[in-house]
Symmetry: C4
Subunit: 205 residues, 4 copies
Amino acid sequence: MSTQSETAETNRLEAFSDGVFAIAITLLVLELKSPELEDGERLWPALRHEWPQFAAYLTSFAILGIMWVNHHSMFRQIKRADRGLMFLNLLLLLWTTLLPFPTSLFAEHLRDESINSNVAAAVYSANLTLAAIAFSAIWWHVLRNHLVDHDMTKAQMRTSLLRYSIGTVIYGACIGLSFISAQMTLLVVFLLALYYGFEQVRTRA
Amino acid sequence: MSTQSETAETNRLEAFSDGVFAIAITLLVLELKSPELEDGERLWPALRHEWPQFAAYLTSFAILGIMWVNHHSMFRQIKRADRGLMFLNLLLLLWTTLLPFPTSLFAEHLRDESINSNVAAAVYSANLTLAAIAFSAIWWHVLRNHLVDHDMTKAQMRTSLLRYSIGTVIYGACIGLSFISAQMTLLVVFLLALYYGFEQVRTRA
Amino acid sequence: MSTQSETAETNRLEAFSDGVFAIAITLLVLELKSPELEDGERLWPALRHEWPQFAAYLTSFAILGIMWVNHHSMFRQIKRADRGLMFLNLLLLLWTTLLPFPTSLFAEHLRDESINSNVAAAVYSANLTLAAIAFSAIWWHVLRNHLVDHDMTKAQMRTSLLRYSIGTVIYGACIGLSFISAQMTLLVVFLLALYYGFEQVRTRA
Amino acid sequence: MSTQSETAETNRLEAFSDGVFAIAITLLVLELKSPELEDGERLWPALRHEWPQFAAYLTSFAILGIMWVNHHSMFRQIKRADRGLMFLNLLLLLWTTLLPFPTSLFAEHLRDESINSNVAAAVYSANLTLAAIAFSAIWWHVLRNHLVDHDMTKAQMRTSLLRYSIGTVIYGACIGLSFISAQMTLLVVFLLALYYGFEQVRTRA
């Protein structure tokens, strides 16, 4: 009975997380604003001029989608949740729910010619880095407390931990890249999301 | 056990999608704005003057409702999810969560006498077309990878694929219709949603 | 197997509806605006002056809460869902998701000395009446198509249908009351929600 | 069968509550506004100047997270739900969904040098106190009506009730503290959330 109650706990943890991911990914649309037109101004050029909004929307959607898929994969391997896992998961959800804010900041300043575009890109990258760290912390906690639902060899554990650490390093590097070019940072982050998507399709399907 | 884990995956995929549909359909209300009244202006005529807002709200609600019902029917026939399905489903959710934006654009410009009303209608129709393409892609992927939970004859597969392709063609035609009349486009899209609703009641109940 | 698939359908229908109710009830808070203060103006009197916002928030929260409880009770008695039920349920959710709009309209115009306060109250009451009609229609459809999970006598069916019809009549009467006094309408609607709450505790607990 | 139906009721109650918690915690981000910059103004100092927004965001996130964990723990011990429990739970959800409003009020007035900062802090603390009272009321109702899923000694019941009462007293004291210092109130509330988090990890893991 104790086991059953632990399993229920994992289910409700996943349901809550799914809810937060689903809401965060849907709220992104609220940051898209209709262009305000002058008399006689045409809508299509005005929409095209708003491309940073759409690029940032698409990128954050892809990232949150991948994060949800990752979360999903990770929790399929977890057989029970302790309180430590619940709080580390809340930390991950903190960075997840925050993402619409730097997304809107990034879109707004992407074309600024000042340092502001770089700062907005760095804040965005920092948010992603913090989320990657939270993912690593969850996995490290899960391994250390034997919460996985199958036996892993030491080598498998090292490999899986390494995978998450690489994410942290890459997004951390994006903070640096932000100060070279905000637009390149957005492109790299978007391509990374696509790459992670396809790589997972290939290695785990 | 492998099968059970695959089934769980489908469940969480459906739960996540349900969440996104439920949130997108509920967020539509945030695009409805109270009319700002001048001193002595009366509320009822001001509300009636906002009819494009309500017409666009109702149409998008009907479309998202039908999409949810369709998604529901489709996934009842799917017995397991692979990674490809997860990413195609995310693509569908991308167009689902985006819909409140063109809805608000459409409502705002429906009565413009310039080309802007046509552009707004075309953007709206393009969103629906992209969603229809994503539905077709999911079904095509599901059939090709034998993810359905029952045997289908070649004829049944062709028929079901054809059904989805027709949706793509019809919404694609609405992009063209947009440049003839924005208001007619809204009406046609609304009637299509009603038709799809009733047609499903009839053929699958 | 057919039965199992039908049951799953009811579950997903309930989960989707729960999601919509949960989102609509939580979105109400977005209509609460911080008062904009002049230099030296004090916050507490400004907040107290915004009482119509809070009264409308509380009333709509109570109504959506009761509606969720009602929906819950009703669907506990339904053993399977057909397509007709799905579309009538979508109709109910339409009025549910719309409610934040008339709530904000009501709060904004509650103290207007013109006919506008009555119009806002009437729009609000009309929304509630349409939701009550949708509830009746669902129950009527369920009884007519034998979707309940237990046998009911003719008398029980009549009694249960009557209960829902009374709701429709009462909220319909509130549309009339709106043209006498907007503030009284808000009070009556709030008391009705409390009454329905307690009455259900008594008769079905 | 009656028991099964009661259990289902608890599940749907938990699912609905999870939805509301997930939405409320995610909506907090909508209160974060991009700073509006003058020509040539730099983004980073403007963001740093908005620290009350981020501090209030983080605090409310932590509180809603802890409340969800608490709700979770409490309902794991509840074996069936009656109507009284449903309505007390709705009362708790009322204070949960309301929290984004005082959060935004608190952030906006945290640095006011007038009494307004104290009033905003007191409103925020009052919201938390009302939530703590609702938690106590739920637990008291559950114990009185034997809705828990295991036997508790009188001593255990007293201890558990005392735990919830202490929360009410502490948050009540924060209302008083608000009139000494708004910023100290925010800090204390944040530290309390962290303390409750760690304390639960220790005593119940």
